[in-house]
Symmetry: C2
Subunit: 224 residues, 2 copies
């Protein structure tokens, strides 16, 4: 009982901080995406391809979460985009405080887009709101089409499903439509993209969607 | 501070239960493996192939951990092996109490081999001893060769590394030797296997190693 209470307390404290983050992001008209997935589903690769295509026209910042190493931030910076690495130590997810401390405290600069790459973990990040507009869930075709059924809290918490590494479809038993169907059974409101950061297949649709979201934010900022 | 203390308390209570599990497994001369990995690295497939090759000669029981669904236990049972599904709800890892309650309380039957398939999660299960002889860490070649560097606690906690889905090597940027090297830099004592449950490549080495461990347990039981 006590354990459950404490978990609720941690989650509820996080929620308060997340709402404060969300308000500050909204004030700035910044679109914030929280990328979540298993380790190795291709979050960093998708961010790299997105940076190549978006960062000329939009101010973009990337926050990358890992237990240790600067590797992901270094990969992203090669594409001319600012990136901050958050090392969580033994924490299995980012939380709203980490995002606030690494981001909102640091500078007043405006960003159109902040992409947060969470720790690779299909369970715990579902519970911790960071103040993002949307969670973007990646599942690679190499992981098996049943994964949405086995990790439903994350599917429910997400607004977008990216089925990644579609270049591997011919070499696996995956049927991306079946994978998508399994996710949509749990959350019918998901926007679904199928893409390969390696071959570029499907990236235009993803970028098109992202640009429409960025344009909507810009409009709301102009009105505000 | 309080949060850290509570986590330590939970881990230390788990450790006490794990030692009790370990003592009971040792009394029975049972070899216990705790399979850990990201979601979709092929734990269930490896268990299925292992069951096909081992269960004629050795009494085998499988415990499969998932947030929800009986799917994995059902897959394993098709190979004529007993399987118990542990649904963890929102818990991101198995713990020693779940193993005790589902296994040790139930029957006095002897098993030579108990394989525990943990929740797909490369972070949290590293901290929770279940009373196993060894953690067997799976990393699929589709996840990227850098994964051991990014999740070092799990690499340190494991005794065996299985590099899985080697059939996908020609279609990815993976070099399994580099992946193994990254893991061995963190834990030089790892036994490393490279295999594909799909093509059967490398399974003989894995089964050979497992049989030698089972034979050693049998000998120690005969002496005891």
């Amino acid at each position: 009982m006590k354990k459950v209470d404490l978990k609720q307390k941690v989650v509820s404290e996080n929620e308060t901080l997340a709402q404060a983050n969300r308000a500050r992001f909204a004030d700035g008209g910044t679109l914030v995406l929280n990328l979540v997935s298993s380790p190795g589903s291709g979050k960093t690769s998708l961010i790299e391809e997105t940076a190549e295509r978006i960062s000329g026209a939009y101010g973009m910042l990337v926050l990358t979460g890992d237990l240790v190493t600067e590797n992901d931030a270094r990969r992203v910076r090669r594409h001319g985009v600012e990136a901050i690495q958050i090392c969580t130590g033994d924490a299995c997810h980012l939380d709203a405080r980490m995002v606030r401390d690494h981001l909102l405290g640091s500078k007043a600069k405006h960003y159109d887009l902040v992409v947060i790459e969470n720790v690779g973990n299909l369970v715990c990040p579902a519970t911790f709101d960071l103040g993002e507009d949307l969670k973007v869930l990646l599942v690679s075709v190499a992981e098996g089409d049943d994964k949405p059924l086995k990790y439903p809290p994350m599917v429910r918490a997400s607004g977008v499903l990216v089925i990644s590494k579609t270049d591997l479809v011919p070499y696996t038993d995956s049927d991306p439509d079946r994978l998508a169907g399994n996710a949509l059974r749990i959350n019918p409101n998901l926007a679904v993209f199928k893409l390969s950061s390696k071959t570029g297949e499907g990236l235009d649709q993803w970028i098109g969607w992202l640009e429409s979201r960025l344009a909507a934010k810009r409009q709301s900022r102009a009105r505000g």
